[in-house]
């Protein structure tokens, strides 16, 4: 069996290995340089550090106020994601279960959001946010991110909810569940893998977004991690240790989320629902 598979599997593993290297080398360089003394970064950028120092991390966290930026980024990302998952799954439940001309138009409206980049509307968004007085505040970022994430969430979740056998909803309704109960006790647990997909899909662009904080936020109190990191790269000088430490820390929440959610992909939760 191993011999028969070898030709194609070696080729595909080579491709995957190569791709992993392309992705991992910059991450590795970032990590080792973040724990080096300042001068060594330039003298020996790819070698292992001669002595470990967490000066950069401490420096970024305290003096650089990354404690504040992290808190801001976490609040924005978590609140936006929860709203995207909640609103997106409710919309998807409605779109999947009540088919009519209107629901088709709404569905296409959501799909259109996938194709039109939200940044095209930046100036209008800025006007709206300013008129609401939400600029310089996290409140201004959250609705924009929710709008940005809803199309993909609605699209993925609608497809998923349509694949849940209708008898399950009917059975719950017969047993006395209200529509809300059907959504909460039957649909939501069954679409957990899809919710995980949507979470990962939306976390990256929200966590990494620099565009909207750069435009909406000036107050230090409302800066996000990416905005904070961008400010470390000065025109004349850059504190590399601090910048690389901040970047390394910024990668951690995304990594943790991915590790937590990826197990959900594997679970085939709908198995055994109905006769296949």
């Amino acid at each position: 069996m191993t011999r028969r598979l070898s030709a194609s599997s070696i080729a595909s593993h080579l491709v995957l290995l190569g791709w992993s290297l392309v992705v991992l080398i910059p991450v590795w360089t970032m990590l080792i340089n973040s724990v080096k003394p300042k001068r060594e970064i330039f003298r020996n950028p790819f070698g292992l550090p001669s002595e470990f120092t967490f000066e950069g991390y401490v420096d970024a966290w305290t003096a650089g106020r990354f404690d504040l930026y992290f808190r801001n980024s976490l609040i924005v990302s978590i609140v936006s994601l929860l709203l995207i998952l909640f609103l997106g799954s409710l919309a998807a439940y409605a779109l999947a279960n009540w088919r009519s001309r209107l629901s088709n138009i709404l569905y296409i409206y959501f799909i259109a959001g996938l194709m039109i980049p939200i940044r095209l509307g930046t100036i209008n968004l800025l006007q709206i946010i300013i008129s609401l007085g939400w600029n310089d505040s996290l409140l201004g970022l959250i609705p924009v991110y929710v709008a940005m994430g809803l199309p993909i969430a609605t699209f993925v979740l609608t497809t998923f909810i349509r694949s849940v056998p209708g008898e399950l909803n009917d059975a719950a309704r017969i047993d006395g569940a209200s529509e809300w109960r059907v959504y909460w006790s039957v649909i939501l647990p069954l679409i957990r893998p899809a919710l995980a997909t949507v979470t990962i899909f939306n976390l990256l662009p929200i966590w990494n977004d620099l565009w909207f904080p750069l435009i909406f936020i000036r107050d230090q109190q409302a800066r996000t991690v990416t905005l904070g990191v961008s400010l470390l790269f000065g025109q004349y000088q850059t504190d590399w240790t601090r910048a690389l430490s901040a970047l390394s820390m910024a990668a951690i929440p995304v990594l943790i989320t991915y590790l937590l959610m990826s197990s959900q992909f594997i679970k085939g939760l709908t198995a055994g629902a109905i006769k296949g």
Binding site: E167, L168, D170, I174, D175, T270, G272, A273, K275
Partner: protein
Amino acid sequence: MAEIRIENVFKYFGKVTAVNNVSLTVHDQEFVVLLGPSGCGKTTLLRAVAGLGLPDSGRISIGNREVTYLPPRERSISMVFQNYAIFPHMTVYDNVAFGLKMRKADKAEIDRNVRRAAEMLHIEEMLERFPSQMSGGQRQRVAVARAIAIKTDVLLMDEPLSNLDALLRLEMRAELKRLLADLHTTTIYVTHDQIEALSMGDRIAVMRNGEILQCDAPTTVYDQPANKFIGGFIGNPPMNFLLGQVQRHNGSLHVQVGDYALKPAPIYDSELKRYDGQQVVVGIRAENMEAMSQPAEDALQVRVMVVEPLGSQTLLTIKIHEDIIKLATHPDFPAVPDQDIWVRFPAEKIRLMDPQSGKTLLSS
């Protein structure tokens, strides 16, 4: 007391009339089977009673309450689905308890009812399992247990056995029948399997093209089908049909099939007069003909084409005039292909039908 009254119900899907002016009364504690080929509207009608698909017009009441447009949870019904429809993310216990929890029953009551239902379906050992760890037959038991855990007025079943293999179906059929007799609920049971309908129902409502053609006790539906479709749909082998002509011999009316003159039962006399000289369809069940190996009075000589021993009976394929029909004999009956036998048609077992409409000449 829960009588289900369906009055003049219509349901359309686009231009298709799925349920066409159906009226049916299911008495308290009665077990009525909706039987028909796929696409005849039986499931649509059941869903209208369940509240899962509202009728376009008509009235449905359960007990003394009109429920036509009420949501399912206000109808005091429970239902078993063809695809089991048990929740894969819940244990068997939680599945069975779901309805009770929705009704906000207290913990002790939930537990008592779940265990009672599980015991009735013999799944008390599996309460902690998940559906994916169970076989199809066990899942269907869970589905039935969930439906009977809440004591509702009405139990609806939509082809509950059709996903099981033949042996399991046979076993579950008898078990369900006993179970339902113990429960004393009013039941509507949808199936396309005529054996299931005959063996389980107090009454069978035969449907086709959205209409109920006949609603009677199983033996009546079997022996006295209201029309040709029902005779051909129910029974294995189906009822035989021969084309004959009504003729007058010596003042009395006969049905002439080829060169054989059938004398129908006297109750047909008045109806037959209207068909004098015209064609009628003669319907007779395979087991109602008498086969003999010797010539006898009133018997028709026919040639055996095929012999099919089925164990409990032997099926003979014979040709009478233009029509090829099946005849069931005792397995000991000596018959070989291309042999001549003699067949007698007992007058009281013959059904006469109109060749155009298919309707039985006698409306019983």
